[in-house]
């Protein structure tokens, strides 16, 4: 049971820092997400996505606000107002979100990435790669389900179902159980041939290569009244296949599987749909996909894709690796002297994180340094300094003349990752 809030918060920050560093490597810039938005600033378009879980409050003037619950919508609003919204944008964020759940207010931290402006194979691929890598920062037991709303809807359009039947199918598909449909009067007149098609559709999930082959076979089984649909399905499947081949070159294919039965949680997805899972966590920790449609509804047609992961879930079911604090020094003296203070200030100016302490026994001091993840411990003696590298577990004793030039930030700037 977690009872140390300080450690929890420190771990949360450490995880956030790792993720932001990953996204920065791919050119994503962090933005700040507002903690609340006024209801008046929500356009009619946003009201299409009402949520009974939204937390609303009123200020003293009677204006209604809601606590942040969907950072993607806030980012869309920022882009709508920005003159630069027609060029490619790569954004990442860290935002507490709030909702009513189980009759109480819940707060969850979301970390997400959004890419705007381009709809290419490369952009979808990058989102998938970042989703897998985000989870793999903390555990190897990762599975990312990849679906495609476009492919599913086109497949259903090609089959002999009316719109009510299609809606029922879309609701039933995620459970992988088509037996429930057989009980419904809605499907009373379904032919054996169509049931066979449905059986194949309900099985379109699993290892990528197998699902791609099964999808190809399903397309061949369908009798198309409109040949353009067949052409569209084959084109979509070719794109998904090409993307899977590229994903293989990242050596990440084994952490993903295709699932064409995926139904996105939010209505604004069109195309790629993602759900990320880690072992022992009972629900998905990551949701994402492509949502060009949302961007258009905000007034500026723009390609948009991204994902968000729930940091709290990730924290509960993984461990933050114990990381040495980069460029950190613990300076030790038997009693505080001007020399110690001067060295501490000198190394702070050089860019180190410095703690100056007095100590009784060297062993206790080293134990403390290890526990607090310092990179090096410097013990000041009369004529020499002892440099203890905690990470490399080695000790060097040197006269002060040598020691003065020994440490540089570049020297200690090696990450353990």
């Amino acid at each position: 049971m977690k009872s140390n809030l300080l450690i929890i918060n420190q771990n949360k920050y450490a995880m956030q820092a790792l993720l932001m560093k990953l996204y920065a490597k791919y050119g994503y810039r962090q933005v700040s997400i507002p903690a609340c938005e006024s209801l008046a600033s929500i356009s009619e378009l946003e009201k299409r996505y009402p949520s009974h879980t939204q937390v609303k409050f009123m200020d003293q003037s009677g204006e209604i606000f809601y606590l942040q619950n969907d950072p993607t919508v806030s980012v869309m609003k920022m882009l709508r107002l920005s003159s630069a919204s027609n060029i490619e944008q790569k954004i990442c964020y860290y935002a507490p979100t709030y909702k009513w759940g189980h009759r109480q207010l819940t707060e969850e931290t979301q970390i997400g990435v959004e890419t705007f402006g381009k709809d290419t194979l490369l952009h979808d691929l990058e989102i998938i790669v970042l989703a897998v890598k985000s989870l793999r920062l903390f555990t190897d037991k990762v599975m990312l389900d990849i679906g495609d709303v476009n492919f599913l809807e086109t497949l259903l359009e090609s089959m002999p179902f009316d719109s009510e039947q299609k809606q029922t199918l879309i609701k039933a598909l995620p459970s992988k159980n088509m037996m429930t449909l057989k009980e419904l009067t809605l499907f009373q007149n379904t032919t054996d041939e169509t049931w066979n098609l449905l059986k194949s559709l309900f099985k379109l999930f699993g290892p990528t290569e197998i699902v791609l082959e099964n999808a190809k076979q399903l397309i061949e089984q369908i009798t198309f009244e409109d040949q353009s649909l067949k052409s569209k399905l084959n084109t979509l499947l070719d794109q998904i296949t090409a993307r899977s081949i590229l994903l293989k070159s990242y050596e990440l294919l084994e952490y993903t599987q295709l699932d064409f039965t995926l139904k996105p949680e939010l209505k604004y997805y069109n195309g790629l749909v993602l759900k990320g899972f880690i072992k022992n966590c009972p629900s998905e920790v990551l949701n994402g996909g492509r949502y060009d449609q949302l961007s258009t509804e905000f007034g500026k047609a723009n390609c948009a894709a991204g994902f968000a992961l729930t940091l709290d879930l990730l924290m509960n079911y993984t461990e933050v690796k114990k990381m040495t604090r980069k460029n950190s020094l613990l300076l030790l003296e038997t009693e505080l002297t001007a020399k110690g203070i001067q060295y501490a200030e000198y190394y702070r100016q050089k860019g180190f994180e410095v703690n100056l302490r007095t100590y009784e026994t060297e062993k206790e001091a080293i134990d403390l340094a290890t526990k607090e993840h310092f990179e090096k411990v410097i013990v000041f003696g009369e004529v020499s300094a002892k440099v203890i590298d905690i990470r490399k577990d080695n000790v060097q004793k040197m006269p002060y003349a040598t020691f003065d030039q020994y440490l540089t930030v570049a020297d200690t700037n090696k990450s353990i990752h």
Binding site: D145, M179, T180, F277, N280, E284
Partner: protein
């Protein structure tokens, strides 16, 4: 192979499972946790099976579809059992009642009821639901009907069958991704 946890309630399903795995002697035991090979069985109340599976404490579970639907949770449904089939039905005194119109329905399943009868007022009752129309608490009831004997003996009759209910093997979606081989092995054994 890693162990998986299977939530089920004592009764026909547990018997079928234990028989399939040659562990029938566990039926007479009062233990709540029983290890059968690499499967840890936990004996829970039927209404609690979705809770254990949704929270990942159990990887799989067997429970009636009525309980799954009422819980509102989302699972993979991997196997349906052909026995213990029954029906969720509307029953009452008046066979000609207009089911499209607003009315009061007494039920143990308020969530399912609201899906099929969104205009109606539902009154939740935990048991002896048949009493509600008799005592004018409700116009009709929405309840499980097996043989219909209880209804007949209380002067009620089925007005309309809404949904067929049977036991289903459910799996936590996340668990299925990481324990698929073990879960598929359970399905194979149960299918024999």
């Amino acid at each position: 192979m890693e162990s998986i946890t299977f939530a089920l309630s004592k009764g026909r399903i547990a018997e079928a499972f234990l028989k399939a795995f040659d562990a029938e002697e566990a039926m007479t035991s009062r233990k709540l946790i029983v290890q059968v090979g690499n499967i840890k069985m936990i004996m829970v109340k039927p209404v609690d099976v979705p809770t254990y599976v949704a929270n990942g404490v159990a990887d799989i579970g067997v429970v009636g579809r009525d309980v799954i639907l009422e819980s509102g949770e989302s699972f993979y449904e991997l196997l349906e059992f052909p026995f213990s089939k029954c029906t969720l039905s509307i029953a009452g005194f008046d066979q000609n009642i207009n089911l499209e119109a607003p009315m009061t329905i007494a039920t143990k399943y308020p969530n399912i009821c609201k899906q099929y009868f969104p205009l109606c007022k539902t009154i939740y009752l935990n048991g002896s639901v048949e009493l509600a129309p008799i005592l004018n608490l409700s116009d009709v009831i929405f309840d499980i009907v097996e043989t219909g004997t209880t209804l007949r003996e209380n002067g009620l009759s089925i007005i309309k069958d809404i949904l067929t209910i049977n036991p289903v093997l459910i799996a936590n979606k996340s668990s299925y991704k990481f324990n698929q081989a073990q879960i598929d092995a359970v399905i194979t054994q149960l299918n024999r």
